[in-house]
Symmetry: none
């Protein structure tokens, strides 16, 4: 059986340091992950400093796919794990790396897992965190929480490795697939449009209220068929509003 | 009680890369360890590259004690943990980071713990490994075992931290009150009524479809304020349907 780390995709969002990108490529090789993806990188992954740090992981740099936004980069992944170092994460629930990796192991065996890491200086935005199924907190010390990017990657990959090594036994086979972030996002857009039209939302309240809805869906680990159901509701509501009394 | 990491001393034996030494200083600050010690360093800890990587951990570089050999560097430590990445460690028994950290926690409370890391190119000698009470294996992938020095430090410090502070995270999370079952039920009844009226539900599908919605809310552990939000949506939908085009 293929190990979980072989289905892992490490995704760096707007990394700016070539030393970091190179170090992460080395880690991808160390832990045998599937691929490295970069979202709108602010440095060249083939820079000499990146190459120097990658050592035997250079192929991960050469083969790194580049995406313009996070949603595209995770669209083919079954389980999305993001990492947060910042304190102001709103009310998005945070888990320890161990809790999240144990959760990942319970997912459908065939699906791949995205491990998403944010910018060196300010991490991931709350909107990006809401695209994930689970968010890991890497807040180690309240006096100086900010880990170097590649150290965060090392810790998360190590946890993935050890939670897998510990128990490849308790695999549940019948697990419903979690909805793709794109489907969830499309639903949220549909719903937001309708709620603006009927005057439930205003331009200045839309973002924060829809974030609350997203956060409910995230916590529920909403499934593909459930998203289809609630999109159906939105469609029918729209129809009813347009056709009632006419 | 003082946390274990505050009694930890990170000891690097003959480090040659200033980037690594600086990165390790940053980690010492991240994880709140007591001090950084260097045994016969092959680079200057105050080099510009080291300073650059240390970020807020520069004081660990400035205060790093230098020793000529490992024995001197560990002589005041009660528990000695070394790390091995190489394969040819003779018959020295190796443990996982988790096993060793759980063992460390059982040591005398007052004694400090030395975490010893070897040279970038060839680790610790077998003689050096034999000075330790326990040796951690950081062999992750048989195809490419050699972790970067600072990544090895990150993983070991993270293990130390987590074995000590398991799941204190969730206690720190603000816990919002979960909605009462009555509120959830009232919402579901409101929504069901409306969905029947607009023809999204029929009498024979209502129960099973609304059960699916309930199940999402249950998994999300939906909160009181969130139920209020979605009840508001239902109310506004009803209003829109009754007043549109009229």
């Amino acid at each position: 059986m293929e190990a979980l780390q072989q289905k892992a995709k490490v995704i760096l969002v707007e990394p700016s340091g070539p030393l970091n990108v190179g170090s992460v490529a080395r880690l991808c090789k160390n832990f045998g992950v599937k691929e490295l993806r970069l979202v709108a990188p602010r440095c060249d992954p083939n820079d000499a400093e990146a190459q120097r740090m990658a050592v035997k992981g250079k192929s991960f740099l050469a083969n790194a796919q580049i995406y313009s936004n996070l949603l595209d980069a995770i669209s083919d992944c079954g389980r999305i794990v993001a990492t947060a170092g910042r304190i102001d994460h709103g009310d998005i629930p945070l888990y320890s790396p161990e809790e999240v990796m144990n959760w990942s192991l319970k997912g459908p065996i065939e699906s791949s897992i995205a491990l998403v890491f944010g910018r060196e200086d300010r991490g991931l935005t709350n909107q990006e965190l809401l695209l994930a199924n689970k968010v890991i907190s890497l807040n180690h010390s309240s006096s100086y929480p900010s880990l170097n990017l590649s150290h965060a990657v090392a810790i998360v990959l190590h946890e993935l490795y050890r939670s897998e090594a510990k128990s490849s036994l308790n695999r549940e086979n019948k697990v419903e697939p979690i909805a793709s972030p794109r489907d969830v996002n499309n639903f949220v857009k549909d719903a937001e449009e309708l709620l603006l039209e009927i005057g439930f939302l205003y331009d200045h309240t839309a973002k924060s209220r829809m974030s609350k809805i997203k956060s409910v869906l995230q916590r529920a680990e909403i499934r593909a068929e459930e998203v289809a159901l609630i999109r159906g509701i939105v469609r029918q509501m729209r129809w009813a509003i347009e056709n009632q009394n006419s």
